[in-house]
């Protein structure tokens, strides 16, 4: 039976497998419905030297997954240690390395590159109708830089690790710690350039490579949030680079810019560190917000309520996010007046986030809502981000932060946003675009199941930590007082559920790459340009430059959404789901 004459069943947009080829037969790639970016070239070299943004995205996907698993392993060790009050599972200095390395890896090597470098790389050209990013070679270079930075960091880890906390506060990091601060710092320094180059590439691409008709206000919201993220990467990352350079110089040559004995000021380090690291938290969450906008629109088949408000709120977050860094320093001996400014702006920067939350909720109104896995993650994101964000307000309130800073309340706050928010967004995005990325479907039932397990496990892990924090349990403690134990046991129990929940997608994603059903070009169906090419897309994305005549999120019956497929000669067999070429 030829698939081409099978009508697409909108109820089940998944096509019957046209090839009826055993998926593991040696020629399966050759006989795959069409020539695409995955099967266009073979061999390890074709991957390591690729300039195709989609392949580079996969390189990133593989590398950040490794780091996520590593960071997760550290997290499990942390939770095991905290099961009981005395420090019995590992030694104090080992514990300090655990949370430091957990933080460094999760932030610099997992979360910051996760959505921008994986989904962003894959989607930005597709969504705006371009053949590639503006600078494909720089794109590849930035992956190599990332790997170089990662190798330095791994070298530091293997040699005995680093114990300064991910915040590297001086003078501990410059004069007291005798761990591999400089090597690990160098790793972060180098990786920073990867992030700068990625951001630069996105900014230029979004400005100069949009397809005809793709005006700014027709851009998918994911592009807006990626654009805002890129601004932060470009404007903020150089500052952490120079800061780390100064720490290294201070350590190696005692330059004394931060050292009070040499006339320096340790608080200056905190200013410079947070000048980057606060905006960096928006690098972590903005892309997720973009993903959530896409998912919410698609699975309620509605245009995003207040599109331009959502778009501009991303920019507002990126810009105002640079004015609040001092809220990490309320108890640091910073001037009380400066604290007031920073606190004030912190509240202001919460408003664009609020706008987004309300607009997503309003989008659901009168929609046609389905509960596929990506949607479950997106709705989870909205709830958990709201909680994480609102507890951020506790911390932004000066007098309240004095009691809460450096307690587990902080730990709970940022895990709610970074795990409950950013990670959920990333997972949702991976599921949502998985058919496009691999051309295969993941098993929906397992998807929903694991999303629920993760949601439950997550809340059990981190909610108790709010309480522990308010009771006063300090963070970065290897051994703690008895009265906090109950809460910590709950948290550890939750972490094991969470870890189990995360393992499931890890397994079925791998499984689906080989055995999953073939995906139609537009399985959900959704509206973005990326859904108007094949799954997986051919190397240069579209057969001809698309001309955009529709608004963002303009839902139409799937028959009306033509696929701008590959040139006929590229296609080795009829492509199912193609109405036009």
């Amino acid at each position: 039976m030829s698939a081409a004459d099978t009508p697409i069943d909108p109820l089940n947009p998944v096509m019957p497998d046209p090839s009826a080829l055993p998926a593991d037969s040696p020629e399966w790639r050759v006989k795959f419905p069409h020539v695409n970016y995955i099967n266009a070239h073979y061999g390890i070299k074709s991957w390591l030297l690729t300039k195709d943004h989609k392949r580079i995205a996969l390189l990133y996907l593989a590398s950040v997954t490794v780091f996520f698993a590593l960071g997760g392993a550290y997290a499990i060790a942390i939770r095991l240690e905290l099961l009981t009050p005395p420090g019995d599972f590992v030694q104090a200095h080992t514990y300090n390395k655990l949370f430091t390395q957990h933080g460094i890896i999760m932030i610099f090597f997992f979360l910051i590159p996760s959505i921008p470098a994986v989904l962003g790389n894959f989607l930005v050209p597709l969504m705006i109708g371009a053949k590639d990013l503006a600078f494909p070679r720089i794109n590849l270079l930035s992956w190599y830089i990332y790997i170089a930075g990662a190798l330095f960091t791994i070298w530091a880890l293997l040699n005995g690790g680093i114990d300064t906390g991910w915040t590297f506060y001086v003078p501990y990091s410059t004069s007291f710690s005798n761990t591999y601060v400089v090597v690990a710092g160098l790793g972060i320094f180098i990786t920073g350039f990867s992030s700068i180059l990625t951001g630069l590439n996105f900014i230029v691409t979004i400005h100069t490579m949009r397809a005809p008709g793709m005006t700014w206000f027709r851009l998918p919201l994911f592009i807006w949030s990626t654009y805002a993220t890129s601004l932060i990467m470009v404007l903020g990352t150089p500052v952490i680079a120079i800061t780390i350079l100064l720490v290294a110089l201070e350590r190696l040559a005692h330059i004394g810019i931060f050292d009070p004995r040499l006339g320096g000021d340790p608080v200056l380090f905190q200013h410079m560190f947070w000048f980057y690291s606060h905006p960096a938290v928006y690098i972590m969450v903005l892309p997720s917000m973009g993903v959530v906008s896409e998912i919410v629109a698609t699975f309620s088949r509605k245009n995003i309520f207040g599109y331009s408000f959502v778009a501009f709120s991303s920019l507002a977050i990126a810009i105002f996010g640079f004015l609040v860094w001092g809220h990490h320093m309320f108890t640091s001996s910073q001037s009380v007046y400066a604290s007031m400014i920073f606190s004030f702006v912190s509240f202001a920067v919460a408003i664009p986030s609020a706008v987004k939350v309300f607009n997503w909720t309003a989008t659901l109104y009168k929609g046609s809502i389905s509960y596929d896995t990506p949607m479950l993650y997106a709705l989870g994101f909205i709830g958990l981000f709201t909680m994480g964000g609102l507890t951020g307000l506790f911390l932004a309130a000066l007098g309240m932060d004095v009691h809460l800073t450096d307690t587990y309340f902080i730990v709970a706050h940022f895990h709610y946003i970074m795990v409950g928010g950013a990670l959920m967004g990333y997972m949702g995005g991976l599921h949502y675009w998985w058919p496009k990325i691999t051309g295969r479907l993941y098993p929906e039932g397992w998807g929903r199941f694991s999303a629920l397990v993760i949601f439950v496990g997550f809340n059990l892990t981190f909610f108790p930590l709010f309480l522990a924090g308010y009771m006063g349990m300090p963070r970065r403690y290897h051994a703690y007082a008895e009265e906090f134990q109950v809460l910590n046991v709950m948290s550890t129990a939750g972490a094991s559920i969470l870890g189990f929940g995360l393992l499931i997608p890890g397994i079925y994603f791998l499984w689906s790459m080989r055995y999953g059903k073939f995906a139609a070009p537009n399985p959900w169906p959704a509206t973005g340009l990326e859904w108007r090419t094949l799954s997986p897309p051919p190397t240069e994305n579209f057969a001809s430059t698309p001309i955009v005549t529709w608004e963002a999120y303009e839902f139409r019956p799937i028959e009306e959404m033509e696929v701008i497929g590959p040139a006929p000669e590229q296609s080795s067999r009829p492509v199912p789901g193609l109405t036009t070429t």
Partner: protein, 363 residues
């Protein structure tokens, strides 16, 4: 001290910290306000999501709902409302902050020096303590704090106070305790290996009891005096009661065999204990080699470390035999910035030996 801000007195609920200072009720009131806001918005969002998700669930696979345009009125409402609410939090939080960080002028001053990994307190009367701070209930106390090495932070959750101590500068805290009892005191700025061991207790006493404590409590039993010495000399910073500190746990030690690092075992009798105090190097407990090296470095002339100061004083074989007045003999060096003149400023961060980088760190 009257603070013109809302205040609540919490009953002791599970998972809430005790309220033991004048400011605690004020902080809790703000906390409650924030919780209500959080609950309101979280419930609002969650309920709406659930309601819409059920009410507008997809009924036929190809249904395409009509698009809904945005609404400027709604956008304005949900921009302005959160902004206004946020501003109330800001103002409240800021006023509280000023109250927390502006010490009353009539407060009694206590000097605090943090160092890796202990807290040293000095009362204006000259009395010094380590990891324990005795204060009378109902008195306004101002802490003037600094550190010899890295940044630490002093926090007393029951009082809802906290501030970093920063090398090269003084920072201040104040409180007025409202309850007698023992309250946790934590170091909450990460400061290195034994950060989690850098904690202790604030002991709030009745004024009379406090006076007795100040004057030395001469009528106590030798064991009680010894305990006090053990605390005040800083032994407790290494020999913890409950967790493994830098020194071995001493509970259940006396009279039992102890494994040494040369493989031998000794019985921990009086002689052994005396020797261990005087000369930690003589017989080393398994697993503490590097600490011994550190204790050695404490013997350096300007350091005034615990080990060598305690040694000449212990004329008899038990700890309680140490003359009570060693308590005043500057066992850990001068603590207060004010007394720095007469002691040559050994504790000044600028020249304290603990402040020089330890060895050559790896790259």
């Amino acid at each position: 001290m009257q603070i013109p801000l809302p205040k609540i007195d919490l009953p002791r609920l599970p998972f809430t910290p005790e309220q033991a200072s004048t400011i605690a009720g004020h902080v809790d009131a703000l906390y409650l306000y924030l919780i209500l806001i959080t609950l309101f918005f979280s419930i609002l969002v969650v309920v709406l999501i659930f309601y819409f998700a059920v009410r507008y669930r997809r009924r036929t696979p190809d249904e395409i709902p009509p698009p809904v345009e945005g609404s400027l009125v709604l956008e304005t409402v949900w921009t302005i409302t959160p902004l206004l609410i946020a501003m109330t939090i800001f103002v409240w939080g800021a006023s509280l902050y000023f109250a927390l960080y502006r010490p009353p002028t009539d407060a009694t001053e206590i000097f605090v020096v943090g160092k890796q990994w202990m807290w040293k307190f000095q009362h204006t009367e000259g009395l010094r303590e380590i990891n324990e701070l005795h204060v009378p209930v109902g008195a306004k106390i101002k802490l003037t704090m600094t550190t010899e090495d890295v940044i630490h932070a002093l926090a007393v959750p029951a009082f809802r106070i906290r501030a970093d101590v920063v090398p090269g500068r003084y920072t201040y805290l104040w409180f007025e305790a409202t309850k007698t009892g023992r309250f946790h005191l934590f170091c909450t700025e990460y400061c290195g290996t034994n950060h989690s061991g850098m904690n202790g207790w604030v002991v709030v006493q009745d004024p009379a009891e406090y006076q007795a404590w100040l004057s030395g409590g001469a009528s106590e039993s030798p064991a009680a005096q010894g305990e006090k010495l053990f605390q005040s000399l800083g032994c407790a910073s290494c020999h913890k009661m409950d967790v493994q500190g830098r020194g071995p746990m001493l509970i259940g030690l006396y009279g039992k065999p102890q494994k040494l690092d040369n493989g031998q075992e000794v019985i921990a009798d009086d002689a052994y204990i005396r020797e261990s105090i005087l000369d930690p190097q003589a017989k080393r407990v398994l697993g503490f080699g590097s600490v011994i090296a550190y204790i050695h470095s404490l013997a350096a002339p300007q350091g005034g470390g615990t080990a060598n100061t305690a040694a000449p004083a212990s004329g008899s074989t038990t700890t309680s035999g140490i003359a009570p007045d060693t308590q005043r003999s500057n066992p850990v060096g001068p603590t207060s910035p004010r007394t720095q003149r007469n002691t040559g400023g050994a504790m000044q961060p600028a020249n304290a030996n603990a402040n020089t980088p330890r060895g050559t760190p790896p790259p």
